[in-house]
Symmetry: C2
Subunit: 117 residues, 2 copies
DNA sequence: GTTGTAAATAGATGGCTGTCGATCTGGAGC
DNA sequence: GCTCCAGATCGACAGCCATCTATTTACAAC
């Protein structure tokens, strides 16, 4: 999508003054942007953001059966959101008997957090 | 989407051991989650994330004509991404003659950044 | 006026997303 | 074996998203 090091804008200028002096280029490469955008996208849903919030605030692993009644969505939809978070590398899960326990992967949000700060 | 204060999981337990002891509830309310999710969603695209990066690194306002050659997308698509960022309250723009200058709104990312940290 | 240019908008399209009900999976207990 | 339960997966559907080309808007210079 993005070109990494295209330094000079190639657009032709009219006879008048130029639009601007400084030459601007992206500081982050495509891969890093794609990685962080994937995390941000996973957080870009209110349910998933609250899920991460609950899992982060709660030390240890949280059973799915505790998460379901917190939201006004069906169990399959919640499972879908948890899968999205898992695919983005933000959470992971562990099965114990009938129940599944989810927890936040500590380093998952680090890159995005550092970039934002 | 999310219920704010549903404290006790209502699911029936089988005769065996319960899935977990602690009662979990969301710490952030629906409105705050929706606000932050909107910002995260706007950052959930590699082009937009790089756009914000360029605008943040560059002090002052950047002309659109400088942004276009940085990406492998058409000018209308870039304009669409800038509109998304503006709708999310992350950037704003100013028109000067033929050119449009975009800049980051400093407080826009603060709430999400604080939550992540 | 006409011409040229920067940026926004319109319209179309293929793909992805959030949601649901229904079903499947695999343990637990009998 | 059978039954019950938690959770994941399936299939469908409406809505949104990223992208394009084509057009429009608004300004500048002639």
């Amino acid at each position: 999508m993005a070109v990494d090091l295209e330094l000079a804008p190639k657009t032709k200028r009219p006879a008048g003054e130029p639009c601007c002096e400084p030459v601007v280029y992206p500081d982050i490469d495509r891969e890093r942007a794609a990685r962080m955008a994937e995390v941000a996208k996973a957080l870009g849903d209110p349910v998933r953001l609250q899920l991460v919030d609950v899992l982060r605030k709660h030390a240890g692993k949280v059973c799915v059966c505790e998460l379901v009644p917190l939201f006004d969505i069906s169990q399959p939809t919640l499972s879908h959101h948890l899968k999205k978070l898992r695919d983005a590398g933000i959470v992971d899960s562990e099965r114990r008997g009938l129940w599944a326990y989810y927890y936040v992967l500590p380093d998952a949000l680090q890159e995005l957090t550092a970039w934002l700060s």
